[in-house]
Symmetry: C2
Subunit: 147 residues, 2 copies
């Protein structure tokens, strides 16, 4: 077990895969407790904005600035510009990333703004994305706004 | 009338105000047609992620990368890091901003990434925010992740 919270994020990615969705998951942790779980909802809800991290923050509900500042965001895949922007908006100080091989998000922007990043490059995170992208190249490109 | 699409964004801000919500509105325009409207949903839906721009993109639904690249986002207030990140994710080439006096978002980041910005600093956009912030300083700070 690489990290108990990353395991929960991976479970979210697997749940999304089982639902026929894009297999990316996230959890928000406050004071060592999970307060939000989420996964990509593009297919399931027809949503262009509910990436795993946004879905997770949405499910965590309204928090105070102080709570965000004590929280950590776990995500199975390197966060895109939108999700990284949400981290910067709420000043979440730490992001733990399952892998950044399939997709490299706005990690440089996060680092430049003082956010601590940890990248596991966990094999299961890489494999679930690799398989999905091979089978669904068009849906994946839609999710990251690429032609 | 400053711009017919900005007028629609202002109507969304006014609608949110009437609902007791944070008065920020947005519209997404594709090929000179409005394809999405939205407003801040923090109060109405208890949502920490449905800023006006995100709500608008969500309501526009799933679009192709080509459609985003032909679209313009109108928002009554300078877009925060999350909403600017959504613009970068989908490579929306142009953002038209009602005002950036009450709040200055990630405009520099957008410009650096080649997004064209137009700022009206429309009096109505300034006033609706000024009034809201004066009456609801804590809710406003929550919306932008500040203490």
């Amino acid at each position: 077990m690489i990290d108990k919270f990353m395991e929960e994020a991976i479970k979210q990615a697997q749940k999304s895969a089982q639902e026929g969705g894009i297999p990316i998951g996230a959890v928000l942790v406050l004071d060592e407790q999970i307060i939000g779980r989420g996964h990509n909802q593009r297919i399931q809800k027809g949503s262009p904005t509910l990436h795993a991290e946004i879905d997770c923050l949405e499910n965590a509900g309204r928090l105070s600035p102080e709570e965000y500042k004590r929280s950590k965001l776990y995500t199975t895949l390197s966060p895109c510009h939108m999700c990284s922007g949400a981290v910067l908006l709420y000043k979440i100080p730490e992001v733990i990333i399952g892998e950044n091989i399939s997709f490299l998000g706005a990690e440089e922007l996060l680092k430049k703004n003082g956010v601590k990043l940890y990248v596991f490059n966990d094999e299961r995170c890489v494999k679930i994305m690799k398989d999905y992208i091979e089978d669904n190249p068009k849906l994946w490109k839609e999710d990251i706004g690429e032609k």
